[in-house]
């Protein structure tokens, strides 16, 4: 009778489990979205699916809002599956697990005494599960701790968060180690008394595993402390640099003490100035003469090559110079020619003709000053009898009231007929 009941129960559990795991699978995307964003919009699911998920205790509606949340065990399942260390929780409650192991062993003994083999088997299986549960809890925690350590606490972004996470991890380790100390092997030996299966399960196997876990935890702890030291050093360096920079910015005239004149000069300050060890060719060693001779030959070759390239350089430079000079001469000729044209224009004109007016009328490119200078020069270079043919009139005035330098502003020429 009991057997059929148990079987029925098991098949029932099996069916429900499969159905609900499928349910989670069917809505994997929505659930994952909810895991990441913290909530699921009711509109993302059909009404039927919503009802099913709530009944299966996968999600719940915290208040009257339309937002749904994942239940804690589901969140934890996902966190463990994707090793999301920011969400994963380490369960360090050992006492409860030990209590259930004691309970199952007692149940097993009672069933054995009453000769109920099936119930005894059942209770033994439960004991096995509870032991596995206990060790896997440590395994899971240790895996999570190593993962956090190896990723350098990369799941949080800044240094002070990393320091906080690290100290949280260290506290978890302390609690786990405390939990391990709750496992009293004398008690377990007593519990397993006279039953080889129980003995193997509760004493031999468990002891080996717990020892392994204990070792791992101590190793992780050591590494966490090392990492914490490094974090703290980094933090100290960061603060030192930013604060000193701030201080120097605020105190531009800051000077340090006269460290160099102290009786004990600080090590960091005592940096000797450089000495460059120079060496030159010396002829006092006969055995080195051949080496020096070959060096000198090499040098000659190098000098010859350099001289050639220099020659080539200066040649191109000379060509450049000549071109430049030609260009200047051409412009000079043009200016002279334009000035002569102006004189001819004056001869043709009946009225006096201003040099600047002519410059603008002909839209010549010369600067006014150079133009006037050229016109005066041309006039002065005419033979005296030809000069007499022209009337030259300077419009000029002093630079300022106080500076008597006279500036010629324009020149007007007229032809004496």
């Amino acid at each position: 009778m009991a057997q059929t009941n148990d079987e029925q129960l098991l098949s029932n559990v099996f069916d429900v489990g499969v159905e609900r795991l499928k349910l989670i699978g069917n809505h994997a995307q929505v659930l994952m979205q909810g895991y990441l964003s913290g909530g699921i919009e009711a509109s993302a699911l059909s009404e039927q699916a919503l009802k099913k998920l709530i009944n299966a205790r996968v999600i719940y509606q915290p208040d009257d809002s339309h937002e749904l949340k994942l239940r804690h065990p589901v969140t934890q399942l996902i966190a463990a599956l994707v090793t999301d260390e920011s969400r994963r929780q380490v369960n360090a409650d050992i006492a409860d697990k030990l209590q259930s192991i004691r309970g199952f062993v007692q149940g097993f003994r009672e069933a054995q005494r009453s000769g109920d083999v099936i119930r005894a088997d059942n209770q033994l299986q439960r004991t096995e599960e509870a032991v596995y549960d206990l060790t896997s809890q440590f395994e899971e925690a240790i895996f999570s701790l190593w993962h956090r350590l190896n990723s350098n606490f990369g799941f949080v972004s800044n240094l002070s968060d990393k320091i906080r996470e690290n100290s949280r991890a260290q506290q978890q380790i302390r609690r786990l180690i405390e939990g391990l100390s709750l496992i009293d092997f004398d008690e377990l030996i007593e519990l397993a008394e006279g039953n080889p299966t129980l003995r193997k399960l509760l004493v031999t196997k468990l002891q080996a595993q717990i020892n392994g876990h204990h070792g791992s935890l101590l190793e992780v702890q050591k590494r966490l402390v090392e990492l914490m030291t490094r974090f703290r050093e980094q933090q100290e360096r960061s603060l030192l640099v930013t604060r000193m920079a701030g201080f120097l910015r605020e105190h531009p005239g800051f000077t340090v003490g006269d460290y160099a004149y102290r009786s004990r000069v600080p090590t960091l300050i005592n940096q000797a100035t450089a000495i460059i060890p120079a060496a030159a060719v010396a002829l006092d060693r006969r055995d080195q003469h051949t080496d020096i001779a070959s060096m000198v030959h090499g040098l000659y070759k190098e000098l010859a090559i350099r001289a050639k390239t220099n020659d080539a350089d200066s040649n191109t430079q000379a060509v450049d110079n000549r071109e430049q000079q030609q260009a200047v001469e051409a412009r000079q000729q043009q200016l002279k020619h334009d000035a002569m044209q102006y004189f001819i224009a004056v001869c043709d004109s009946e009225a006096p003709l201003s040099a600047l007016d002519y410059l603008y009328q002909q839209s010549l490119e010369w600067p006014a000053e150079a133009w006037l200078f050229q016109v005066i020069g041309e006039y002065n270079s005419l033979p005296r009898h030809e000069q007499k043919l022209f009337n030259i009139e300077r419009s000029e005035q002093p630079l300022s009231r106080y500076n008597q330098v006279i500036v010629i502003e324009d020149i007007t020429l007229s032809f004496n007929t």
């Binding site: 980094q234 360096r237 603060l239 030192l240 920079a245 340090v256 960091l268 005592n270 000495i275």
Partner: protein, 208 residues
């Protein structure tokens, strides 16, 4: 007698170079040996030099053996040069930390890719401004208006001063040398020596 294999090492030291595991691993390893250090010290004695190291022993350099007035005067001048370059160097360190979004200040052995730094700086106006003001500082002395040119000039000056090492002249990646640790030790020393109240500003720095 000193072995001739130390010739290049002594020459580097005399030239004022800092020898660390990054700049010159082979020689740095040799300097770990006490006998070698004693030999070099004995050799340098007539030059009024001795081998010195920072507190951590991560960087070796030469110090004066006897501090006569001449030596003290030179140390004083040198210190004032160092103090003049301290702020731009510290600002550079915080700029790099912010640009690379890293947890800590650069430390010996860290690598720095100029290309990556330039891209990050170009995308961020505040970083651009910081690089600009760094580059205009007399210590870095850049004439360029472009991020690329400024970053190159800053890196060039840091290589000249021995804070960065450029393993390949035609490739723009750099390794931080042990001299950075030396600089930070010096900063820490000055903070303690001058009683600079850097710790009181905690709350202010955290607010920022």
């Amino acid at each position: 007698m000193i072995s001739p294999v130390y010739g290049p090492l002594i020459e580097k030291l005399l030239a004022g170079e800092f020898i660390c595991a990054i700049t010159d691993e082979a020689h740095f390893t040799k300097l770990q040996d006490e006998q070698t250090r004693d030999n070099i010290d004995a050799y340098l004695k007539p030059l009024n030099r001795r081998l010195a190291a920072n507190d951590e022993g991560s960087v070796y350099f030469l110090a004066y053996r006897d501090l006569d007035d001449d030596a003290r005067e030179r140390l004083k001048q040198q210190l004032s040069v160092v103090m003049g370059s301290m702020l731009p160097l510290l600002e550079w360190l915080t700029y790099i930390q912010e640009a690379m979004g890293s947890d800590g200040i650069l430390t010996a052995g860290d690598t720095l890719k100029l290309q990556e730094l330039t891209v990050k700086t170009e995308d961020n106006p505040s970083l651009r401004q910081r690089l600009q003001s760094l580059a205009n500082d007399r210590f870095f002395n850049s004439q360029s208006d472009a991020v690329d040119g400024q970053a190159k000039q800053v890196a060039k000056r840091l290589v000249e001063h021995g804070y960065l090492l450029q393993p390949h002249t035609n490739r723009l990646y750099f390794i931080v040398t042990g001299k950075i640790d030396f600089l930070l030790e010096l900063v820490r020393f000055i903070k303690d020596e001058e009683n600079i109240p850097l710790d009181e500003t905690t709350s202010q720095a955290e607010l920022l």
